[in-house]
């Protein structure tokens, strides 16, 4: 009997990427000095990152600008050569892996496109079909599925340059996923899209991941992307890992409170609800009270019994606030020279 060895889709061990950047002072003097006596600085983009992602997982990479998210994605795909550490994707080293490996993944950038700018969308599909040697049956099936899920029928004959940003992003996704990659990496896939287009992209990615058991990694500054798609988040700041776990776990660990949103009755006053917890907002007929997470059920029951509210709902604090707090703490820890 063979021994089953669990192999994650992505395994990074002490992964680092440093860039050597030329330092130049401002002004003509600075420009001349840079020629005569160039100075270089080692910029650490990714610093000893260790994580592992299983097949079929959907993971969000979070971090402020310049945290190292995109650099990490690029090392996962083999675009960038790591300065040190080890990375294995689908059991191979992405840097040395050949064409078979590349046929198993897709990387989509929200700010860059691979569509043929001057030609109708369908021309990029045809080109990718040949490049990836997609068999006819799979191509027809996958193309039909993508057209249906992303509602592309009307767009196929239109030149890419005539499409709106949202339409282009949908076509970009379709072109990148025609070969049915099992690993999909998305860098800001909803960047600049309107609310409807963002919803369409999120809905599609959810559907694609479920249908094909694809592993999906994304970076996004839109928390709605994260909550709609990922159950697990990996947070990076200044290249270092600061959290790896469930989204819910992050909320509970970072902000140990629950937010009770209430609709007040006419006889309610500030004081009448202040005894249940910290009133964060009071704007009749709405108010928000924060209570310790563990006490939320009991506090809700007491509020309901008080007779000053007409309705109540219990919420976690907004994810944006949670993220802000995590980065604020990490930034303070960094300034103090300590690590979390």
């Amino acid at each position: 009997m063979g021994l089953y060895v669990h192999r994650p889709m992505i395994s990074a061990t002490q992964l680092s990427k440093h860039y050597r950047v030329k330092v130049r002072d401002s002004g003509i003097g600075g420009a001349l000095r840079a020629i005569v006596a160039p100075r270089y600085e080692d910029v650490v983009a990714v610093d000893n990152l260790t994580f592992s992602i299983d097949r079929g997982e959907v993971v969000a990479f979070l971090g402020p600008n310049g945290a190292g998210k995109t650099t990490t994605l690029k090392m996962i795909t083999g675009l960038l050569y790591p300065t040190s550490g080890k990375i294995e994707v689908a059991g191979v080293n992405p840097w040395t892996a050949g064409s078979a490996f590349k046929s198993r993944l897709a990387l989509v950038f929200g700010n860059k496109q691979q569509l043929l700018w001057d030609l109708p969308v369908d021309e990029t599909f045809r080109l990718n079909r040949a490049i990836y040697s997609i068999p006819d049956t799979i191509y027809n099936e996958q193309r039909a599925e993508l057209i249906e899920l992303l509602e592309l029928e009307e767009l196929l004959d239109r030149p890419v340059r005539n499409l709106s940003l949202g339409e282009r992003m949908k076509c970009e996704l379709a072109a990148a996923l025609l070969h049915r990659p099992e690993l999909v990496l998305l860098d800001e896939p909803t960047l600049g899209l309107d609310v409807n287009a963002q919803d369409a992209v999120r809905g599609f990615l959810n559907e694609y991941g479920t249908r094909h058991t694809a592993t999906i990694l994304l970076t996004s500054h839109y928390m709605a992307d994260v909550t709609a798609l990922a159950k697990r988040v990996i947070m990076i700041d200044r290249g270092r890992l600061i959290y790896d776990g469930s989204l819910q776990g992050l909320v509970e660990r970072t902000v140990p409170i629950k937010r009770i949103e209430v609709t007040l009755t006419p006889n309610a006053t500030f004081d009448s609800i202040a005894r249940f917890g910290e009133v964060k907002r009071f704007q009749y007929p709405h108010a928000v009270i924060e209570v310790p997470r563990a006490e939320a059920p009991e506090a809700s029951a007491r509020i309901l019994m008080s007779g000053v509210i007409a309705d109540l709902s219990i919420q976690d604090p907004p994810i944006e606030e949670v993220i802000r707090q995590v980065f604020a703490r990490d930034s303070r820890a960094g300034r103090d020279g300590g690590a979390e």
Partner: protein, 270 residues
């Protein structure tokens, strides 16, 4: 599907896309073509005047006319713009999606060259035939065996210029403006490749320097084989040996720069 079928489909798809883009930019092609014709036309005009009713070291007006018509065609058939493209791809982050494909970016560039050369070559040949119909002196003596050799030399010359341009473009992995290097090289190449004058009209030491470099093997040699003028038609073996040597040298350089440059790649942008 066999490997041949897979690669035929890939090259076919790239060439199809390139031609479809060309159809969108018809005026652009016409202007580039005009640019390609202008330079040899000026050179022909000068030598035509210098030759007058006699000859210059054995070159009459007829041989100059044939030679520069040959230069126009061969230059277009061996021209490679890849250094500018690669420089742009690397600087603007457009190399990223190409590196993620299951085929190396060089294949897209080769297919693009085939597409480009097929269209401009066809146009130049048509223009040449039309001109020959009304102006007999640009008609070539019938020499099918030499034309076959010229066709082989054109392929090798195109290979030299392609890998030369590609390798220099890849220097953008280290420097931000690799295309400046190719522009300098082009300026020197116009002189040493025989585009301004047949090399045997240049001082002996200049012709010697030229023959030690790759420039004449990409243009002057195929032109001589095609037109029977230019001097290289008497050095066929030396010409082919030089072509093969420089093709291999630039191919090896391309491979070396590619392997080492990839590690330097910053993958800027998306």
């Amino acid at each position: 599907m066999t490997a041949v079928a897979v690669w035929s489909k890939r090259y076919g798809a790239f060439i199809r896309s390139a031609w479809m883009v060309d159809i969108q930019y018809r005026a652009d092609i016409a202007l580039w073509l005009l640019w390609g014709i202008t330079e040899p036309a000026i050179a022909l005009g000068i030598w035509w005047t210098v030759a007058g009713g006699g000859d210059v070291d054995g070159y009459t007006r007829v041989s100059f006319a044939r030679y520069f018509f040959g230069v126009t065609l061969i230059n277009q058939l061996t021209q490679a713009w890849d250094a500018w493209y690669i420089d742009h791809w690397i600087a603007e982050g457009e190399m990223n999606h190409r590196l993620l494909r299951p085929i190396a970016p060089v294949h897209e560039a080769i297919a693009d060259n085939i597409a480009y050369k097929a269209r401009v070559g066809t146009i130049v040949i048509i223009v040449w035939l039309l001109t020959a119909a009304v102006w007999p002196i640009v008609r070539l003596p019938v020499a099918p065996e030499r034309w076959v050799l010229a066709a082989v030399a054109v392929v090798l010359g195109a290979g030299i210029r392609f890998f030369n341009g590609f390798a220099v473009g890849l220097l953008a992995f280290w420097t931000t403006r690799a295309s400046d290097i190719i522009e300098l090289q082009m300026a020197i190449g116009v002189f040493l490749s025989g585009q301004l004058a047949p090399l045997d009209l240049l001082p002996h030491w200049v012709a010697s320097v030229a023959s030690a470099l790759w420039f004449p093997y990409a243009i002057a040699f195929p032109v001589s084989l095609l037109t029977g003028t230019g001097g290289w038609e008497h050095h066929i073996v030396q010409g082919f040996v030089g072509q093969l040597a420089w093709l291999i040298a630039w191919w090896l350089l391309y491979r070396f720069i590619w392997r080492n440059g990839r590690k330097e790649y910053g993958a800027v942008g998306g």
